[in-house]
Symmetry: C2
Subunit: 228 residues, 2 copies
DNA sequence: CGGCATCCGGGAAGATACTG
DNA sequence: CAGTATCTTCCCGGATGCCG
């Protein structure tokens, strides 16, 4: 284990270029994305980042820790596990994640049916919500995705998402993130997903249809923009 | 010339991940940044991107053209040159460039005295302007940076930047982008820069000091955020 | 000169196996 | 569970050279 010389830099005073020096390496921003809802353990990060290898994840975490975006913390006695969490500055990267996400959904090549992590799904709710559709609504929807428990709270004209106990929510959806994405973004009816065994719904199942209207996708890039 | 198999993908339905599939390769976003103010020729791109090699620039332009972000256009007869320009969708990436730039200026490692392109400087004015400081002002500042002519128009509570003829501006600054950055972000007085021969000012030179107050940098990340 | 293709060396990423 | 070690592959960066 030798001291690394610093990663090759763009050597550019432009803030954008410096940002790429910090988080431009492959996987770096997706690691940050996965920590956006709170601390995670190494193995959870690895499981939620389809395709990353252990050594690359180790390198990214080391790098992000060195630049002050990620902090390593040992959990209190009950569990011996250690977790990685974003620093305040790390959390401030959320607008970047959102700007990228919003922009890329216009891509003709974007396939919303690919694998999806629970964190990505929750962040997409933050990004894609349409204020004029959310206005006046009040509800709480709980999610059980694998062993992750999450909540979307609709209030004050905004959809708030966070980790939390789904119990007591008006509607609780249990299933894979991809199935919930099919409901919200693919506009597959809840009944079709429950019938297929992809999703389980408890509570106010009619709420699901309303929820699915809150996150309209921007129009795909049309031929007028791409053709020469 | 064989058909390339498409670049390795994150294979993730998350919009952020797809954005990285599109513009996550090294240099890609900086190429887009350099085209943000309008079309450029290959050699201008190469000159304005310190450190990029010709073959990598070729690859990036091919890739960006294939994804529909960049268009290649042959200029009308007077010049045989061809230029690269962003598509509408490509221009829509500006919020990404801005989010990255704004976020990265908080980095302790950010050195604003590194080389800087004229385009980066103009975009930084868009990004970093403080509306409460711009309010009520009206002025036009012209820039001659190398052979590039640019204008910043202060009106309607906003700073607008674009390519344009500096003649007739209230103040015209001639010099390297780094010198103008020293004025605006380094708060080096205009007199010091003109005395050193780094900058030439014509017109309302007092305007320079006002202009330099319009773009406050956010506070650097402090020890409270980085320390464990 | 502008716009590439080609070859090469170094280094980062990916896959797998292995260890405390 | 949380990484390390090793090997292979591929990308990046630099140099050169071709061709209009």
């Amino acid at each position: 284990m030798k001291l690394e010389k610093r990663t090759r830099s763009y050597n550019d005073a432009c803030g954008t270029a410096h940002a790429l020096d910090l988080i431009g390496e492959r996987w770096a921003l997706l690691v940050i994305r996965e920590l956006m809802l709170g601390p995670k353990r190494f193995s959870d990060l690895k499981a939620d980042l389809p395709g990353i290898s252990a050594n690359v994840l180790t390198q990214r975490l080391e790098g992000l820790e060195a630049t002050g975006l990620v902090r390593r913390r040992r959990l209190p006695p009950p569990g011996v596990a250690q977790v990685y969490e974003l620093t305040d500055w790390g959390y401030e990267a959320e607008p970047i994640v959102q700007a990228l996400g919003r922009w890329a959904t216009r891509s003709p090549a974007h396939d919303p049916r690919l694998p999806l992590s629970a964190t990505s799904l929750m962040l997409s709710f933050r990004t894609m919500q349409a204020p004029e559709r959310v206005a006046g609504l009040a509800a709480t929807i709980g999610f059980r995705i694998g062993d992750q428990h999450l909540v979307a709270r609709i209030a004050d004209g905004r959809v708030h998402t966070e980790r939390g106990d789904p119990d007591g929510a008006d509607l609780i959806l249990t299933g894979a993130a991809e199935a919930i994405a099919a409901l919200v973004y693919g506009h597959v009816p809840l009944e079709a997903l429950t019938a297929a065994g992809a999703l389980t719904a408890e509570g106010d199942t009619a709420l699901a249809a309303t929820f699915a209207t809150l996150f309209p996708l921007p129009p795909k890039v049309g031929s007028e923009s791409v053709a020469q």
